[in-house]
Homo-oligomer: 488 residues x 4
Amino acid sequence: METSTSPQPVQVSSSELHRHNTKDDCWLAVHQKVWDLTDFVDKHPGGADILLQCAGTNATRIYDEVHAPGILEANLPVDKFKGVLQEAQQEHDNKAISTCPETGHPPLFSLISAADFEKVASEALSPKTWAFYSSAATDLITHTQNKALLRRIMIQPRILRDVKHVNFKSRILGLSSSAPFFVSPAAMARLAHPDGELALARASALEGIIQCISSNASYPLGSIVESGDPGQPFFFQLYVNAERDKTTELLRSLAGAGIKAVFVTVDAPVPGKREADERVAAATTVRSAISGATSANDKKGGGLGRLMAQYIEKSLIWDDIAWIKRTSGLPVVLKGVQSVADARMAAEYGVDGIMLSNHGGRSLDTSQPAILNLLELRMRCPEIFTKLEVYVDGGFERGTDILKAIALGATAVGIGRPYLYSLVYGQEGAEHLTQILKDEIEVSMRLCGITDLSQASPDLLNTSDVDYLIRTPNKFPDIPGQRERAKL
Amino acid sequence: METSTSPQPVQVSSSELHRHNTKDDCWLAVHQKVWDLTDFVDKHPGGADILLQCAGTNATRIYDEVHAPGILEANLPVDKFKGVLQEAQQEHDNKAISTCPETGHPPLFSLISAADFEKVASEALSPKTWAFYSSAATDLITHTQNKALLRRIMIQPRILRDVKHVNFKSRILGLSSSAPFFVSPAAMARLAHPDGELALARASALEGIIQCISSNASYPLGSIVESGDPGQPFFFQLYVNAERDKTTELLRSLAGAGIKAVFVTVDAPVPGKREADERVAAATTVRSAISGATSANDKKGGGLGRLMAQYIEKSLIWDDIAWIKRTSGLPVVLKGVQSVADARMAAEYGVDGIMLSNHGGRSLDTSQPAILNLLELRMRCPEIFTKLEVYVDGGFERGTDILKAIALGATAVGIGRPYLYSLVYGQEGAEHLTQILKDEIEVSMRLCGITDLSQASPDLLNTSDVDYLIRTPNKFPDIPGQRERAKL
Amino acid sequence: METSTSPQPVQVSSSELHRHNTKDDCWLAVHQKVWDLTDFVDKHPGGADILLQCAGTNATRIYDEVHAPGILEANLPVDKFKGVLQEAQQEHDNKAISTCPETGHPPLFSLISAADFEKVASEALSPKTWAFYSSAATDLITHTQNKALLRRIMIQPRILRDVKHVNFKSRILGLSSSAPFFVSPAAMARLAHPDGELALARASALEGIIQCISSNASYPLGSIVESGDPGQPFFFQLYVNAERDKTTELLRSLAGAGIKAVFVTVDAPVPGKREADERVAAATTVRSAISGATSANDKKGGGLGRLMAQYIEKSLIWDDIAWIKRTSGLPVVLKGVQSVADARMAAEYGVDGIMLSNHGGRSLDTSQPAILNLLELRMRCPEIFTKLEVYVDGGFERGTDILKAIALGATAVGIGRPYLYSLVYGQEGAEHLTQILKDEIEVSMRLCGITDLSQASPDLLNTSDVDYLIRTPNKFPDIPGQRERAKL
Amino acid sequence: METSTSPQPVQVSSSELHRHNTKDDCWLAVHQKVWDLTDFVDKHPGGADILLQCAGTNATRIYDEVHAPGILEANLPVDKFKGVLQEAQQEHDNKAISTCPETGHPPLFSLISAADFEKVASEALSPKTWAFYSSAATDLITHTQNKALLRRIMIQPRILRDVKHVNFKSRILGLSSSAPFFVSPAAMARLAHPDGELALARASALEGIIQCISSNASYPLGSIVESGDPGQPFFFQLYVNAERDKTTELLRSLAGAGIKAVFVTVDAPVPGKREADERVAAATTVRSAISGATSANDKKGGGLGRLMAQYIEKSLIWDDIAWIKRTSGLPVVLKGVQSVADARMAAEYGVDGIMLSNHGGRSLDTSQPAILNLLELRMRCPEIFTKLEVYVDGGFERGTDILKAIALGATAVGIGRPYLYSLVYGQEGAEHLTQILKDEIEVSMRLCGITDLSQASPDLLNTSDVDYLIRTPNKFPDIPGQRERAKL
């Protein structure tokens, strides 16, 4: 059969092959044979999209995963056979076949989970950027447990409910969101993609979600906001500058710039020790367009997270919250609350929301996992949920992860690293990630037997595998005569 | 000794060797030497069967696992030495020696556990079929825990009882079964073997067990039933079609077709996200002969499980059970109950049985393991076992697994994936698997000191390693003022 | 320095080297140079023994692990240099250097733990023998947990006690033992070494411990007993034969043959499913000299454990104990008790001892670990220890393992597989293993702050990591109307 | 761009390159090109230090980790290009590039954690020294759990406190220490570095911490003390010699020699069985300059820990404490307390401090982790902390590890193996390790929201993940009639 197609085949160079890469002129190479599939694009049982992804390339590998041998020869007219691909190119293409010719990454449609983005990013980002984004404090225990604990909470789905129509629209601080999650602030998004935070803003606009902009963003605040839709709501994450005047100035500008709330980071008066970050020296100086923080390797290493945190105020105290609120004229959320006691303090000080967070495991290692903070709060202090909004982040990657937090009383979940990783594909990557998360939430709600987030309650969950981890208050006896030891 | 057998040996080609492959003309090659063992077949201490499995082949590898070198030379007359095997063939045969010449798989007799079938299937099935059968939801947590939790339940055998005669015959919904398990419904069995569900029906007939036929079976219902024995009982697993008329028609036909009960799937109003399945595109369209469900790759991927579920009704509710019961005129079992509350609802709605199942971990990941649902039900709601029959599936592979479920009150256990995997060997595979499971149950009962399943009670078990996982009811305090949050 | 020793060196063949392999004529090769070390043997700082182990061989590797380069050249007179080792031999010897020239195994003195014997046996025994000895039931869960649970029990040593003199002599059923352990019965010891059970008997004599002889021993009972010292006490492990007359005859002969107690196996009315054993066919028929049990591969596989168990009575009941006691005229111990209920039954039936055992994980997989049975018995039924003696086996390998059992009330511990593995070295191996265990017990007692086993109490232990595994009695509610379900 | 720098490049030998290795004459090779960077040293954005580390070497690898290709060519004048590095040297240098040219180890500045020192030491120390330092008893369970349990204790940081100024100065037995840890005694430091304990003394002086000198130190006590600062405080770890006179003499000399307290080891009347140590024979005899203990391989193996412990008194009892105190005239600390009962005894006998220690897992395996002893003591016996000082060691490597112990009531933590490992770099290594630990403590305190160690209380911790491991007193019922069994 093979010999009958072309007794004396023409040699086709890879550059020639590359020229035929459109819907109207679509060639493909499979097992060294080059075919003209233009007439066949719309008839492909697997859809035109996948076929066009490979237009103008050697598609041998992706073809072999799906098709039996000989199908092309058996089904295409002989005149669609255009020749034999030249040798040298072949091997190279075989290796590259599962990646887009333009970007060098796997095609975006082939990514189907947040974890897929992490995998691609670990290979696509520069070693320094990967170290900066992915690193966490010292032994990665909190980082690892953030995710592990989420997975140990079990779900007990309910059955035989009408789940045809599902609604997971949310309100966060009075603002509409198409889903119960938002883009957690993360520094220096431009390291992953030239569009950096601008891409996130545009994706957020299209997907109807809210982006929280980092104090250490790579783009100016104005540029980010303007790149979105008119009136699109944003949050702003604040590191207070030890030079308070600079922060005062910044706070005064926020409302006018379109910011709707200030997320004050309170879990990082100093940066955590992220060893993977320290171990890779930065090739060039990195500078935030908002805070002005600039990196320069020093004798401790090249930790971007540490070097860019040098301006941060170490003396920020509860009484400063009023100043932030007054100066910005905006709702204030504390990002990094990690105890019931501080949650109560937050309510007393009139903050509008708290974010249960350990900085994605990046601040203090062995600090307790974020979901455990939420579980403890729900169990020990249910009234707090009526006084302020509660958010949580750290390790959330799945629709079920998010749904569990909502069932435990959270208003919304912050998604951080996955959005940074999605920027390997720029704006499209962030959109695709958002769609994946929404899809997972929708499927999970249906499989749980609920159609609205208001139906998500602890009754859906079996937390027995982690309940023993909740802190027992006052279990330690006093040391006689040491009452002077300050109770924290 | 070697040199004395043939100073100038004849060359024997592998095709020549192959011709002598019967009991009456049985040649074997061992270490390049070809022997005529015809006269020796019935005297082989290891039995004639094993020897005949290798007739006409190079048996070097299997020989070396068992025998010391030189035994053939020392014991066979010189005239049984037929020559030296030709070189080229040798290496190839060495690789193939542990598999049947006909099928390319290991000989069936060498499989001695359900896990062995899984291993063979992972190599023998096409990548797409393997992905479809073996995949489970997202991070495989429920899939993994289904089995892991079973193994953490300990047994405390009793001693010095007369266990000569053991009986594990069972009655399921009033029907006789030779064992306390049945074939769980699984879609598209023809992907594993041309005989598909027909082979399962025939094996069930021979082994005296009941097959539950999937709505997405590859063969028509009539063909499957007819391939079994006259009067052989079957169950039918139902996905209700969003076009209800189609389901009405199907339900009306069941009793006449020989179906004895309807297992309504209630844990999959939408399909779970099985990523391994999505990642492998299907080469060809797949179509169920019963439901008519048809697959076609789309932009989300090639998930057969998802693509074939598009017709399923998302609005099925408790009140529909009466309709199913009335229309079919058959006992109704709910497949996919996952909470005590729903088990109670089932009893209220008059269903005849419930199947504690999480769809083999394929629906909602992190939903709680099936055996934990059974344990919770046994502990919190013992009266339910007097109102309806309780079945369980998901991860059951061992006689001890099955015995534990029976001891916790289950009437029978569903065996799903192992039967699909056994179809690599067609009907014979399914029979062999059934015999292995029966043998394991018999041995386990004897070693537990019981002779009848009615003696299997929780007293045999030590569940202390998993008891802490049982959900504590009502442990979460109410959030003040949020009583409007619907209790599920 | 090297060039000065011999400008034109003689070639020494390896066979020449080998001839000088005694204390009075001791040559060694190191880095191709052959030296006469006869005068140096008694001066070796590391002792003469190690040096003599290497006499007549290429000792390069063992030398390099210990010595700096050039020491021989710097310290020995030039006339002790005998020449250069011939090339061809060199590489072979390098590979063999860590094993005894005679046996092909590592020198016995280099084994310092029971685990070392297991490692050597896994390489030295034939695949079939290794499979038979090391295999356990199905998924190896009980086998693995037997050891794992022992290690999770913590010790809290006491300090500042005079531990100069330590005594761990024990009395087992009134017989003296130099240590609180005995040789557990294990079948077919001759598969590991031609001396088989005879070697164990001689080692037991020398070390002052008691051997329990298996019903499936490879040597006749008389031969084993006679190979020991006059008057040396033995126990006998009994499988009751379905042909009871044979057992009657055997029982009547025991006391006369020097047996002091009968250990009746009660956890194996049928053999467990040991898959590793089944998967390796036996090359030859194996036959026990005592029971007459004979193996022959069948269609289920080659499981020696299963094939040799076919004669065992499946109908042995409590009332038969009186018959065994009466017929043998000996104390009776039940081997394989696994529940508090059966321990109580044993006391009621007047047995002299019980052995908490799950057959080394070989009978019913997921049956609870042996040490957990002991812990449960100690916690729930302390009075049993005043009515009969309690032994335990399964996974015991360390002095601390044994000490923990004694602290929990056991009289002695059975050591099974390690003694089989020690037979790679015959009698010497069994002696060396015994000395290692005794040494570990002595060190452990001193480090615990005790000097006599009577001081070993639960106070020494912290069992908190495993306490939750102890079965809670009667925690399952009754199923209404099912009281007829036999309470076991 | 490359071709323009030098059309006909000079060959530079590696020895030539090596000559230019100072700040005033600094050449480097990168990708075979040799550059003169003397004028650039002070302008290097990454700092002069790192650049000078590589002066005179092939810095290709370290350059590539940080810089994009072509930066040197683009930014340096052509006349700074000195030629092409000769081939042969290149490959060797590539391999060596991440290590200091002088020492062969990675540059000290690149080590950023205690674990980094362990990694370097495992490669840099001789096999025997590594075995002696790193080994622990039998199965390493206590050794492993020491560290693992520390990591399972969670922290709940407090927020919005002024943490600008942090103070972790401590007082240990009335002596000032710049940090809440001290150098735990460890034998034979000279095996790691010629300066041995002298280097530790000098580093302790510079860093303001206290060194506890081992009885088995490689240097004489006087030399060690003199190598430090005048008046620098030291502790002395005591093994009592079975020849008591020798100990009496030693004790009398301590105060005069500058020792401030005696740490009596009570957890090792005999040495534990450290198998890795036994398996490596010592090449040479090792001798302690203080105790005179000398090693010599024997038939049990080459365990330095065992061989050097032969002189130790096995009959040391509580009443001897008074003798030690009286003879030395110094405060006495018991090192190796492992139970609440013994802690109480210590208080009764008037000791000044106790060190909760299991000898770094080196004495009795499966003895309970050190932090668990502290937790148990804090929970069950809080008053003890008012009667004596409590220290702890074993597995402490992180600032958070140390902070947890302080929060549970410890006065200070002993750091043992990490200081031995740091000696790969001599005094500088010990200083660098100290700075790392101090830095981690400071960061951890700030992130916890505390500024003084007096604020560290159990309120900061969530110990729920390990609480279940605390021993329950008196949970075992008595065995009737066995009250004579000595309560320990």
